[in-house]
């Protein structure tokens, strides 16, 4: 008797569950390193989305270090999340391995182009298909913060406006004060940072689809940086650690004079050393001969294994829309990747005496300029490792700059297929 009741109840339960499922879909959203600081913000946007789409429920999970492996496990289990926050290299790797759904199939191209700048959409194109909704971005140049006290001590009255001037000023500062000037990224552990230096100076990286960064000009530029390191005008630690980290560390100890980057770099200086923060002034960042900037953005992707791709696409569009990103920019100093952000009055109001406020207002409208400069090659890890090994060999004197670059080009063209 009891058994029959149970059976009936469960049948009924299943029925009503199915009925419910028809009008209420639950999707899972994995963010990356945003909790707990931005929980209120994310949940706020999710709340608005759910109000606009009462049939969809969004579950927020924040992943950190374990993101890629958790995603791997979830897909293997058939429990894939529906919307995932990745970055450029990971998006490319996942797309190449067929782990992601092309978003062109889910959101019409004209809608994507109406919401995002083309350059940001382009970062997540693999084999001609779009795989990522551009989310919050940043610029590598954006603004330059400088320690006004150190500049005064070194007798520098004109703040540098080009990378060339910045390097000259750095030399002077080191000679006169003992502090470093600027710590340029030459060999970050991830990516291929020296390509960025070529790009900024307007030197071509590729010719006819092949790597071609070994001309005389490329060699001369690399040699210039090698000489700077030899003379200890830039620290050798740049070969071992991320420039972003080192800049923060040195700057907040008063051991370097400039930070070039997004506004978020200043957040850490503010935490680490209030004294130096108060002496910090912010101006637009110097650019190289190319007159271009580099930068990047996060992506929201939809795994191919997601069972609710349609709803996921709706949510991804909502999470990345202009209103939500402008709100995020105000909180975190990020660069929105959306059209319209550059004219948003909310991002203009700046307290001219606060470094962070000035920085945010300077960078927030630059979404249309951010570009990494090049797309990651196939076989990314091996190709980048070889490139960085060669750059390192040149800096440590194990190879000449010319030899290092031609070795790197040869390996690139043989392996980046």
């Amino acid at each position: 008797m009891k058994k029959r009741w149970l059976l009936l109840a469960s049948a009924f339960g299943a029925l009503s569950m199915a009925a419910l499922a028809q009008n209420k879909v639950q999707i899972e959203f994995w963010s990356w390193y945003l909790s707990p600081k931005f929980d209120p913000y994310l949940l706020g946007v999710i709340g608005e989305f759910q109000k606009a789409n009462p049939n969809i429920e969004v579950k927020l999970v924040d992943k950190q270090d374990t993101m890629e492996r958790d995603l791997q496990a979830a897909i293997a289990l058939g429990k894939s999340p529906d919307v995932v926050n990745l970055w450029q290299d990971a998006t490319a790797a996942a797309a190449q391995n067929n782990l992601l759904a092309p978003i062109n199939d889910l959101t019409p191209m004209n809608q994507l182009q109406a919401q995002f700048w083309n350059n940001t959409l382009g970062m997540f194109i693999v084999d001609g298909k779009n795989y990522g909704y551009p989310w919050y971005g940043w610029t590598d140049q954006g603004v330059m913060a400088y320690n006004s006290e150190v500049l005064k001590k070194a007798g520098i009255t004109k703040v540098p406006t080009t990378i060339g001037e910045l390097l000259t000023a750095s030399k002077l500062i080191k000679q006169r004060t003992g502090s470093y000037g600027w710590l340029p990224p030459v060999k970050d552990p991830n990516g291929a940072s020296f390509l960025g230096q070529f790009y900024l100076e307007g030197l071509p990286l590729f010719a006819n689809g092949k790597a071609a960064f070994n001309s005389g000009k490329h060699v001369a530029l690399l040699q210039k940086f090698i000489d700077l390191m030899k003379g200890d005008f830039i620290p050798q630690d740049l070969l071992r650690k991320e420039a972003f980290q080192l800049n923060n560390e040195y700057y907040s100890q008063g051991k370097s004079a400039f930070i070039v980057g997004g506004a978020q770099a200043l957040v850490r200086v503010k935490d680490a050393n209030k004294d130096i923060y108060s002496k910090t002034k912010v101006v637009p960042a110097p650019l190289g001969a190319g007159g271009v900037q580099t930068g990047g953005s996060m992506s929201l992707v939809i795994p191919k294994a997601s069972k609710n791709q349609k709803e996921a696409a709706l949510f991804a569009m909502f999470m990345t829309n202009n209103k939500a990103q402008v709100q995020f920019a105000k909180l975190a100093g990020i660069v929105p990747t959306t059209k319209g952000a550059e004219n948003d009055p909310d991002l203009k109001a700046a307290n001219p005496n606060d470094a962070l406020d000035v920085a945010t207002s300077l960078v927030s409208g630059t979404g249309r300029f951010i570009t990494p400069g090049w797309n990651p090659p196939k076989n990314t890890d091996a190709v980048y490792k070889n490139f960085n090994d060669n750059i390192e060999a040149a800096f440590l004197g194990a190879k000449t700059a010319r030899q290092a670059l031609s070795d790197a080009v040869a390996f690139w063209n043989a392996n980046a297929k």
Partner: protein, 303 residues
């Protein structure tokens, strides 16, 4: 002498929980991992939901012809130098803090702290030790061992980086093995020590004549664990040098790690590299067992 059926039954009864759990959660995945070494299994398989395909020795050829793997193997083998140093030091420290003197509880706890310190925190401090203006150079200059003009960053010099990282491994390890050795020392009946003391043996003689022979099983345990940890070193490398400079700290596990990490993994190649390293591990285990023989024949005859 043939064991009785009852003995066999009891033995397997005691082993049952461990065996069942290990079969499911250790042997099965490890064997599966080994099998992957002979297959093509990459992120693309996960994407297209296809099972691994058998390709024989292909992955091994890939690995063996990869110069990076060979560099890694040499560095992993070099890392073994840390083992005897670490083991002798740990045993000595264990003997020191095994005394009934006031304050020993503090020292034991202090020596264990590196074991529970997260590597990312330790990395910040050790960085400060190893940089050109760091503590190590300062000490060496203070004692006039090196000349300030010739100073360099220890982690940035291809000739010193691996040694510097070994020092960190030493730092993280000696408290760990000290605890294991203390466990062994505590089982040595104090009557033996006292008798030797009455015979007029000095501390040095007592250490070699009594402590070391009785500690053999523990020494085997520790040196084996330490050798396997040495050829599989990874964490320290990741936080300090990522394999540089000039690949002078690039180890086999770095190779395996880079092949199995992220969304572009190649588990076939990673497993093959792991299996090749396992061969080295087996040889090391065999050597360890040979050096620190426990005289099993005698004991077996008795039981």
């Amino acid at each position: 002498m043939k064991p009785k059926a009852a003995t066999i039954f009891t033995a397997y009864l005691l082993l049952a929980p461990a065996l069942v759990l290990m079969l499911v959660f250790t042997f099965y995945p490890v064997l599966y991992g080994a099998y992957l070494g002979f297959t093509k299994y990459t992120a693309a398989n996960l994407g297209s939901n296809t099972p691994p395909t058998w390709i024989g020795l292909e992955n091994f050829r890939t690995v063996l012809s990869d110069e990076l793997f060979r560099i890694g193997l040499v560095n992993s083998l070099k890392y073994l130098i840390i083992v005897p140093i670490l083991q002798i030091a740990s045993l000595a420290v264990a003997v020191l803090v095994n005394k009934q003197l006031p304050g020993m509880a503090f020292f034991r706890a202090a020596y264990y702290i590196p074991v529970i310190t997260s590597i990312s925190l330790a990395a910040v401090m050790w960085d400060w030790v190893f940089t050109r203006e760091g503590l190590l150079n300062w000490l060496l200059e203070f004692f006039k061992i090196i000349d300030p003009s010739g100073s360099f960053g220890w982690l940035l010099n291809p000739n010193t980086a691996l040694w510097a990282i070994m020092l960190v491994t030493f730092w993280r390890g000696f408290g760990y093995y000290m605890v294991l050795y203390l466990g062994g020392l505590q089982s040595i009946p104090s009557e033996l020590e006292e008798a030797a003391l009455l015979d007029g043996a000095n501390a040095w003689q007592r250490f070699w004549k009594i402590t070391v022979p009785l500690m053999r099983p523990t020494i085997l345990l520790c040196s084996l664990l330490s050798s396997l940890a040495a050829i599989r070193v990874l964490e320290e490398i990741l936080v300090f040098t990522n394999g540089g400079p000039l690949n002078s700290t690039y180890t086999v596990l770095m190779y395996v790690y880079q092949k199995s990490f992220g969304l572009d993994f190649d588990y076939g190649v990673a497993s093959a590299a792991g299996l090749l390293l396992a061969v080295v591990g087996f040889v090391l285990s065999y050597i360890n067992f040979r050096i620190t023989r426990e005289d099993p024949p005698k004991r077996e005859a008795k039981a």
